[in-house]
Amino acid sequence: MDGKIGDVDQLIEQYKGLPGGLLPLLHAIKYALGYIPESTVGSIAKGFNLSRAEVHGVISFYHDFNTQPVGHHRVQICRAEACQSMGSREIESHAKHSLGIEYGETTSDGMVTLEPVYCLGNCACSPSIRINDDIHARVNESRFDQLISELTMPDADNTGVSS
C-alpha cells in the first residue's frame, strides 16, 4: 500500500489489453493504494474506452472497492447465517462498541476499518472474522480484543494492508 496515484497510469497500460481487464485493474489499484481514488476514474475510462459513468458504476457495484482511504487494517466480521448461529451478532455489537465505529468507518487513529462480510467459507468453525488476509475461527469477545490488540501501525513493523 505504498504506491502513488501516478502509478495508476502504468497499471492501466498493463491491464487495458486484457479481456475483461477492468476488475483485475481495480484490484491492482486497490492493492497498490489501498483504495480507488475518484480522481483516477477519468484515466481508467479513457484507457478502457468506457464512459466515466460506466467505470464509476463498476466501482460502486462491488463491496470490495472503496473510493476513500481506509485504515491500516481491514477487519471484517462475518454476518452470514452459520456465524449468526454461533453468536456473531454479539461479536458484531462488541466490535462496534469496543472500536467506537460503525461498519464502513475507520478508527480515529487510522488503525482499523470495520466491514461486514457475507461468508468466509469457514462455517464449520464459526464465528469467523478476517483481518487483512488472515481468517480467524471460533472468535469470541475476548479473542476479538486480543486480535485487535496485536495489530500494529505499519511504520512500527512495516506490515501493511495486504489486500
Binding site: 475483461g20 463498476v58 470490495d64 462455517c123 481468517i135
Partner: protein, 520 residues
Amino acid sequence: MTAQVFIPRDTTALSLGADGLALKMAQDIESRSIDAEVQRNGSRGMFWLEPLVEVKTESSRIAFGSVNASDVESVLDAIDDHLAGKSIDHSLYLGEVKEIDYLAKQQRLTFKRAGVGDPICLSQYQSLSGFKGLAKAISMTGQEIVDEIKNSGLRGRGGAAFPAGIKWQTVLDTPGEQKYIVCNADEGDSGTFADRLLMESDPYQLIEGMTIAGLAVGANQGYIYLRSEYPVAHKILNDAIKRATEAGFLGTNICDSGKDFFLEVRLGAGAYICGEETSLLESLEGKRGMVRAKPPLPAIEGLFGKPTVVNNVLTLGAAATIMEQGSDSYRDFGMGRSRGTLAVQLAGNVKRGGLIELAFGITLRQVIEDFGCGTHSGRPVRAVQMGGPLGAFLPESQWDTPLDYESFAEIKAMIGHGGIVVFDDTADMAAQARFAMEFCVVESCGKCTPCRIGATRGVEVIDRIVGDQDRDNNLILLHELCDTMELGSLCAMGGMTPFPVRSALTYFEEDFGVNSRRDH
C-alpha cells in the same frame, strides 16, 4: 523411514492456528532429534478436529485432533512412543485416520485425495490417479467425452442441478471459433465450503476437470471466477496452475495432444450475486454483475458472447473422476435422478461440522444426527437451513427427507450447493426471516423490481408483523410480496429469498408473535 507429520494448510486449519503449530512442531522435532519431518497437507474436511495432526510411518497413519501449539510437547512424547512401537496414551489421540468414523462412513469420490498430501505436489496427484481422466479424454472425441458425462447422470453441483452433459452438448453443438470454460468458484452461500476445500486440498482435480471440459466442447481458454473472500484458495490455485503449465498439463499442446488449454484465475469483488452464472459472466467481462435475461443461454451466447460452459467447482471436479473411473461406476451411486455423490457441508451450531461426501439418498436426519452429533452449544437443535441463504428453514419434522433434488423440491426446499446450517433453540426465526430479506437488499443486483424493491419492503413488513402493527393484514401482505418475488424475479436471488421467509413463517410462526397474540 522418517515419519511424516502432516499439518494442514487450508483456511480452516490456518484460522485455528496451524501455521504457529507447524512452526513449533518443526522446532521441537529438531531440538529433540526425533526422526520425523513436518509436511503441510490439505484438509480432510473434518473441520471439528482441526488442526488435525497426522503421523505417517511405513505401517500406519495416525491422527491427533484439535492440536494447539501448547500441545506440541505432549503430542511429540506420544509420537516418540509410537515410533518406538509403544502404545499411545494421549487425550487428543484419534487412532488410524481412515478408521475415524466420520471419515470411514463417507463415500469419497471427489474428495478422495483431500488431505492425503501436499495439495500442489504434482507427482503426489499423479500417484493417486490424477490426470488419468485427462489421458483418457485425450484419446476420445469431444462427443465421446460428452456422452460419458451424460451417461454418468452428473447434474450441476452449484445449486441449479442442471444436467452437465446436456450443457456440454449444447456448447459442443454451437459453432464457434472461440469457446470458453468458466468455473464458478464464487461459493457465497453461508454454510458451504466444499469448493474451497477442493481448491485448497486438491486443486489439480479442478484443473483436470476444466481441461477435460475444454477438450469435450472445443474450448481453449478457461477462467476460474474465485471469490475474493478466499485468499488461501487464490494462492494455492495460482501455484497449481503455474506448476501444471510448466509440466505441460496446461498451455499449448497439452500432454502432446496437439490441443491447447489456458487457464486463469479471476477474482470477484465481494458480490454474492456474481455466483449467479450470467451475473458472473458480466463480472468476468469487467462489468457490473447484473443478471442477464435468459435466453440466450450462456451455452450459446456466454462469455464475450461466445459459447460457454459455466460449471461449479464440484461439477468440474466430478467430471475428472467420471473420466477416470468411468461413467457407469459414478451413476451407480445415488437415487432417482440424483446420481453420484453429494458433498454435504455441515456447519453452524453443530458439534462435528465438516465435509461429508455421500451418495444421494441418505436422509437429512442421518447427516445431522450421525455425523453432527448435536449442537456445539449442547442445546437442542431447533432448525436447520439447507441450501444457503435462499434455502428453507426445516424443523425436525422434515428431517426424514432423503437428500435428493426432487424430494427436496417436493417440500419446497432445496439441496442447493449442499450446505446445512444448524441452529439451536435460542435462534429467533423471525430475525432469521428478516435477515433473509435484509441480505437480499444488500446483495440484489438491482436489475429487476421484485427483488430490488421487494426485499426492502419485506424487511419493513416483517418488522411490522413482529411489532404487532396490523399483524393479520401484514401477514397477508408478506405472502403476497413473496408471491411477487417468486414469480416476478429474474433470477433465484429474488425468486428464492421467500423460501427461508415462508418456511420460518410456516414452521416457527410463534417467533413472529402470531401464537402469543392468539392466546389472549
